[in-house]
Symmetry: D2
Subunit: 224 residues, 4 copies
């Protein structure tokens, strides 16, 4: 896929509201918003729904995770090749809820790329973002721990962590996209993130658990 | 599902031959054999294909793995509820390629059951099979390490490990099914396993990587 | 060692109060109580202090953990043989803060025994205790999650979990000692645990973080 | 400690030859060589022997591993503070036999530093070395997988991986020491590594399992 900024990525996580039929309905809503607004969006369905959702919606999907395995005798693990075959266009790596080893991040970025898949690596601070930038992923999503699930806006709490990280990553490799992965609740926050230099945002519960996800998505997009 | 013995379970693992379109084609072949022969069969598609395959075939499907999580903020993990919503009827637990903690096995058996899902716990010897039997799963699949991928038939190599384990598990709980999870290549091996007291077999590469999986399945079924 | 009931086991964990010189001082206090009172006691020093403490005190020491490895190329892991060579007499296994896989528990009990070392496996409920009993450890320490660090006495909160577990384990193997690993603060609790059928208690912060550990130990011993 | 190049670091791993009394004897031999030759050396005893060895020898000792925990309720884990209290001067981190998460490497480098302890982070290639360099450890030990335990000399097999990594790390931070952690068997290899720009070498079995470790150490030192 083309991770064309400004972009909105939605991590559906393992919520009840994003599982099975609920997940398919949510993906359809995202597809509507995507098609009606021409904004760059990517959704990350639940692992068990990946192939199904990729077939049912016409928009970019990512896996939430990829395991450091090749194809072969691996029971219950997800290979980059399986992600390719599901119809997805990339994968999150190293999410704060699914951290992996540094040597595995290195291997997985290359492996995804070899299948034409994009990598979006999650990080927790500027130092780790710089470290990951040296591994040349397609995108980095920074999630400052203090902002995760806090309801606090990134622009009021720690604006400099976004702008400093963007600058630091750019100095290492201008081609890496940087997303803001926490502290985003509405269109105003999206605009703040973009003004701080981010190429987009990575969201989860604010959309998935919303009464009216479409309304929330439209508000978020208004910030672009 | 009803794990009605004698049964044949197929773990599709993360092979290239069972991924995406290949996996769907293989599932369709299993469905044909299942419908034409009236034998109890269950297939375990790749994690990313689970919802898709469950919708496309009319036969029992299991997840290859379930993570010890509830629904919620868990990125890239698979909950029992997601398995239920995929349309699957149960899950493998603690496969030799995906071992988990004993307290997690205990929790997952209960959690699957609370969703009306079956649990098939993999074990490696008689002692561990007895330990798992105390946790009351629906089924235990014993995979003696020496037989995994060895091409050696269970009936020639270690027949007593199957019969002893069956007896030991029955003494703890008569209701638990016991499957033989290694050393099975053909119908003759299936017959041996059943004569040794097993309620069925758990297979993988012998079917998945076969030139003609249907032929192999039909041969296996002939042993029942 | 002889795990002769009634016994008191002290897990020193990774507290500041049990590290380095503090740990050595605490071990000396335990040795005093042990020698003056003739009660069966065992202490579990911090991993890095194990060989040192074993040389400095004349009483049974256990490792807090043992990794499922042989001797060999394993960096930063602890083998059963290293525990033997440290002078310790056994090891905790599967503590709630260090859970391991069921097949590993099976292997480690045998491996410790092959070096003449005792195994004390931690469990969280009756079902898991029965499962572990099938693996024939020397001792099981049950730690009901609700009681861990709660300050609630086992005798008031969940007396039946102790008595039921003792009964269930005895039915599987009379030789396995059962310790109560939570809900013990004073001599009265120790007495309750023993009256409920336990062979002893497993303690941690109540002693390690006490202003006067000797006083606390003497109170605990008074319950025997 | 002062990681003053050129230096020789010895990882004692979990070998029989480096456990308990054997480990203490080996540490004494290293101490002799260290004192007689004035070369910068550091040894990494087995985890259970750390406090004992630190008290018995007068030379720098490192832990083989440190867990990402604070002091507290952590059973069988090793904190940075426990390493400090053992008398050691630093720790290996992320050895190929004990890989950890990237966010944990970041935390542990800072935590060790806060106790005045040095960090030596192991890496497997140039990209990962650069990533780790962004986290500002005191030293990086590169272990190309192809050379680990191969008996092949780094100078004949992959000299450029050492020189390229040294250059890349220096461009990020001149203060970080770079050690060559594989492909070193004798004094000639040590000299090659230093000529390729390395600040030292990290050794294991070649010394630990030698019939005459002192002789091997003296030969290695001759390369400095």
């Amino acid at each position: 896929m083309n991770l064309e900024p400004p972009m909105i990525a939605l991590n559906m996580k393992a919520y009840r509201e994003s599982s099975g039929e609920n997940g398919l309905k949510l993906a359809k809503i995202c597809e509507e918003v995507f098609e009606e607004n021409g904004v760059c969006m990517v959704i990350c369905p639940q692992q068990t729904d990946l192939s199904l959702v990729c077939r049912k919606v016409s928009m970019p999907c990512f896996s939430q995770h990829v395991d450091p395995i090749d194809v072969g005798s691996y029971t219950g693990w997800v290979s980059a090749e399986a992600i390719k075959n599901s119809g997805a266009e990339g994968s999150l790596i190293n999410h704060s809820e699914h951290r992996i080893r540094i040597s595995e991040i290195d291997i997985l970025i290359d492996k995804l790329r070899s299948f034409g898949l994009s990598s979006m690596v999650c990080t927790n601070n500027e130092a780790v973002s710089k470290a990951v930038a040296e591994l040349k992923p397609d995108a980095i999503a920074i999630e400052p721990p203090k902002l995760i699930g806090s309801g606090i806006s990134v622009s009021t709490a720690e604006p400099e962590i976004v702008s400093d990280t963007v600058d630091a990553v750019r100095r290492i490799d201008k081609g890496i996209k940087v997303l803001c992965g926490a502290g985003i609740s509405n269109g105003k926050d999206v605009r703040s993130a973009i003004e701080l230099g981010a190429d987009g945002v990575l969201l989860a519960s604010g959309v998935v658990k919303a009464k009216d996800p479409k309304e929330v998505l439209l508000d978020l997009i208004s910030g672009i």
